[in-house]
């Protein structure tokens, strides 16, 4: 298991790995099969820990030698002391939590920095889908139908930035990726990001 070949690394994971300083303490909330943890441990010398809700995911991670506990963002963050980690990562998960605002507050408590990657519901394909088909967007990137999607709290990038203000944190860095995984230049105006960004990675600080 531990030496199983890795599939191509997810683009947002690559971006997150770039944002993390060497030899940091990192907690990945919703770490899945541990791809990001592995990347951070091997490339960044990170002390990388994870939380994952699915037993299969946890077993896979532990069998790879990663430190992962079975649990979720609602139940298992309270035990960690303030500032326990240099970075707390929530990749492609915030929109699937019951109370994104509360989760953000908890993440900011236990991490010096919080890294959030989210899909952008305001991406132009999604807008066209809704406008011309009159149906909730189903794309390669967001393949679920409305009735079985785990993503119960979708937002656009601008919506997310509003939330960061609401919970009182600052955006240290944002990397916005278009539909083919290219970075949209940092100088671009917000409306452009919000239209052409399919997903984004935010580095936040309280």
């Amino acid at each position: 298991m531990s030496d199983a070949p890795m599939t191509e690394i997810r683009i947002d994971h690559k971006v997150i790995a770039e944002l993390v300083e060497l030899n940091s303490r990192v907690l990945d909330v919703g770490c899945g099969d541990g791809e990001l943890l592995q990347l951070l441990a091997t490339q960044k010398g990170a002390d990388a820990r994870g939380i994952e809700i699915s037993q299969i995911g946890v077993n896979f991670c532990v069998a790879r030698g990663l430190s992962v506990i079975q649990g979720d963002a609602n139940e298992d963050l309270a035990a960690y002391p303030d500032g326990a980690f240099d970075y707390v990562v929530l990749s492609q998960t915030l929109q699937a939590t019951w109370d994104p605002k509360e989760v953000m507050t908890r993440l900011l408590r236990i991490g010096e920095h919080v890294i959030v990657s989210i899909p952008n519901f305001g991406y132009w394909q999604n807008r066209l889908h809704l406008m011309f088909k009159g149906r909730m967007p189903v794309t390669d990137y967001l393949p679920h139908s409305w009735y079985n999607t785990p993503n119960i709290h979708f937002c656009t990038l601008r919506d997310f930035v509003d939330l960061t203000k609401e919970v009182g944190c600052t955006v240290d860095k944002a990397v916005v990726l278009n539909g083919i995984g290219q970075r949209i230049p940092i100088q671009a105006p917000w409306w452009l990001w919000n239209l052409f960004g399919e997903q984004a990675v935010f580095l936040l600080k309280e």
Partner: protein, 405 residues
């Protein structure tokens, strides 16, 4: 041979194991007492153990296995009393997760036990008779202290891992608290940081069954050459129910009748489950000492790790550099997942390096002793990761038998 002769032979063998075990044993003289939590020094005393595999040149590949309530040191070797293979042969052995081609695996009989480590069935050197209730009460911490003295004797400074389930898991947690610098990693299976009220209640039922047997003789049965076998068997029957789950009992026995087509309108073992429990009770008394049962159940009852640290469990793990692997079983109602989560959260609060998984199995508490491929995969993976950081050889890759069971 009559069955009575057979009983005598078994009893004689069991008594022999208590003082002169067939396992290696280390004897500590009066100059090296074991300081007990009860406030007395036990001396002389002895500890019986088994080892499997070879210690490497750096002495960095030793794993200590802590056995559960009625287990013993024969983790992967034939039990001298029952003739059965070791109780964790699926976990410990060549190519197994605790790979004896790569690690030196040590397992010692617990203090208070009856397989060669000093316990109530051992001969009291002051009187020449078995200790019985003159043996001081022992705690989980005393057991761990005795194991640390054994590890010293084996000239091992730091253990690569300490592994145990149930009462063994309690010992593992106590190891972390008592000797934080002497263990690199730990695996705690189906255990908790304290014994719950419900668990104390079940133990009390068992102890009362033993003590209600007229053959118990206030603990002095060995002097009178009798055994409280019925009481001990009842204790085991009650305890055995707590090791399984409603679902596993239902699957295994349902309401099936034992070698009959109809109920007999009497108190014979009509149901298969009754017959099964009676069998469990009867075979248990052949291999276990009744007073030992009182002592080790009491040790579990007294265990409350947080209480030693001002009621804050995280303080027991503060600053720990040990890597933890915690596992529970979703059908275990003796040590439910919530007990493991308490430990996990305390470890998180202490900033410790911890992995935790809840194994999906209907088999209840005893699942950790059984063929649970997910558990094997997890332990193998955990030890592989830890061995990589420690710079020693990991367990071999999983056999086909394990992957496809």
């Amino acid at each position: 041979m009559t069955s009575h002769d057979g009983d005598d032979l078994t009893a004689a063998a069991r008594l022999r194991e208590a003082d002169e075990p067939s396992s290696p044993v280390i004897r500590f003289g009066k100059d090296r007492p074991l300081r007990l939590d009860a406030g007395v020094d036990l001396a002389p005393w002895q500890i019986a153990y088994q080892t499997y595999g070879t210690l490497n040149a750096d002495k960095s590949n030793a794993i200590l296995v802590c056995h559960a309530l009625t287990g013993d040191q024969h983790v992967a070797s034939k039990n001298p009393l029952t003739g059965k293979s070791g109780w964790w042969s699926m976990m410990v052995g060549p190519g197994r997760p605790l790979d004896t081609d790569r690690f030196l695996v040590i397992c010692a009989n617990v203090l208070g036990g009856c397989m060669g480590t000093t316990g109530p069935a051992s001969t009291n050197p002051e009187t020449g008779k078995p200790y019985a209730l003159d043996m001081p009460l022992v705690t989980i911490r005393d057991m761990v202290r005795s194991q640390a003295m054994l590890v010293d004797e084996l000239d091992i400074d730091t253990l690569f891992a300490v592994v145990g389930g149930s009462m063994g898991g309690m010992q593992v947690l106590q190891w972390v608290a008592s000797y934080p610098d002497r263990l690199f990693s730990t695996a705690v299976l189906c255990a908790g940081a304290r014994h719950s009220s419900q668990n104390i209640a079940f133990h009390e039922v068992g102890r009362q069954a033993v003590m209600a047997d007229p053959n118990w003789c206030n603990g002095k049965y060995l002097e009178f050459d009798v055994r409280p076998s019925k009481g001990l068997a009842v204790a085991r029957m009650a305890a055995h129910v707590t090791y399984m789950s409603d679902e596993s009992l239902h699957r295994k026995f349902g309401r099936s009748l034992q070698n009959r087509d109809h109920v007999t309108f009497g108190f014979d073992a009509d149901f298969q489950i009754e017959s099964y429990l009676r069998h469990q009770g009867m075979t248990f008394v052949d291999r276990f000492d009744a007073n030992s049962y009182l002592y080790v159940t009491r040790a579990m009852d007294y265990f409350d790790l947080a209480a030693e640290y001002g009621g804050v469990l995280a303080h027991a793990f503060q600053g720990s550099k040990t890597r933890f692997c915690i596992a529970s079983v979703n059908s275990d109602w003796l040590f439910p997942t919530s007990e493991s989560r308490v430990v996990v959260h305390a470890l998180n609060a202490a900033g410790a390096n911890v992995s935790f998984v809840e194994i999906d199995s209907p088999r209840g508490h005893d699942a950790f002793l059984l063929n649970e491929p997910e558990l094997f995969t997890m332990i193998r993976g955990f030890l592989t990761g830890a061995a990589g950081v420690r710079g020693i050889l990991p367990p071999a890759l999983a056999d086909d038998w394990e992957a496809h069971v």
